[in-house]
Amino acid sequence: MSEKIFAWLLRLYPSHFRQAYGDDARQLFRDRARDEQGFFSSLRLWWDLLTDSAVSIPREHYSSPTARIEAPVRQCSDGSLSFHVVGSETPSLGALLLGGILSLVVLGTCSVLISHVRDRPSPGAALVQPRPNEDRSSASRGPASNGAKAAISESGYPTANEPRARIDDKFAGDSQSRLQTLDSPGSPQAQASQPRPTYTTAMMAAAPENVDPEQRHRVIDRAVANLKQYYFDREVGKKTADAMLAHERNGDDKAATQGAALAALLTAQMRDASHDMRLVMDYSRAPLPSGPPV
């Protein structure tokens, strides 16, 4: 019974100690128990064992890393990989504090970087803006007689006298028109105030090749809305939109009864108001691909 209790006490020692001296310790206990019989002798024996354990168990656990890391070093001779010990001291309090502070700094830096990357929109997300559902529905409600497409987009090198207009007569049956505006990053203004390009797309009611006043008003209205909403410089966008509305009120657009002519006229009006030669109203009878121009 006593030996079992001592064996249990021995289990509190680190494994390396038990492996090396467990049998010897049990033998020593047996020797003492045999030689020190009687109540007081047994009491003194257990007192010695308990006080010794109270001191030596923590000490052995404190020094156990040295014993643990010695084993692989001894295995070097057989050619197997092993870790070599360069120091057996436990880290000092200063080293632990320094390690903790460095860990906190690294963790903080990583979290800041991750949040920064998360806040940055990806290129794909920047190029594709959500299109209002009502625009799609209005497009689907549009007349289907003459397909026409009008777009405000960035052209390569447009000038006020050369509005970029494209008429594709091959697709006469298209029922959809679309208005697109694009603010390019190539503009110095754009680079200064908003380095990333903003593309906006809005679906328009169908605009036939021969534009009636209602369709003309719808195209202008959509262009105005897009300019106000998506043009990188809100003030210039609003000024340009107001100018387009003023031209419409004055009846300046009435002469443009063809899609291409209306596109050229609106392009000139936008450039005149904004002094941004990249703005262009593009007309096409063929449906433009869905999504913003790239």
Partner: protein, 116 residues
């Protein structure tokens, strides 16, 4: 720089070295000899005894010898320990250090008249 467990030399380790000065002994024999040479004031428990022995073995102040069966204590195989020359020098140096301390204590008249 690894921490040296035997610098300064613990009292238990010094007593173990002294117990092995005249004879090779196993663990229980060392314990009994230490108890005898300290008039029973120091009774090494298994934890202190074998951790001190381990430290002394690592520093090569003692060697392990297998003398086989102990005829007095039965037929169990025991590990005996022997003092090395380095261990003897260490014990002598520690004894000299303690002798110096004793000399200082005498000069300072720490002792009662009986010891002076």
């Amino acid at each position: 720089m690894p921490k040296r467990k035997l610098d300064p030399l613990p009292s238990a380790a010094f007593q173990i070295l002294l117990s092995l000065a005249d004879e090779d002994r196993h663990g229980y024999g060392i314990m009994r000899q230490v108890a005898d040479q300290t008039d029973g004031r120091m009774r090494l428990g298994p934890g202190t005894l074998y951790s001190s022995i381990q430290s002394l073995l690592e520093e090569k102040f003692i060697d392990e010898v297998d003398l086989g069966q102990d005829m007095k204590l039965g037929q169990e195989r025991r590990r005996y320990y022997r003092l090395t020359s380095a261990g003897r020098r260490l014990a002598r140096a520690e004894a000299d250090r303690l002798a110096d301390l004793l000399r200082v204590a005498r000069v300072k008249k720490i002792f009662r008249g009986d010891y002076v």
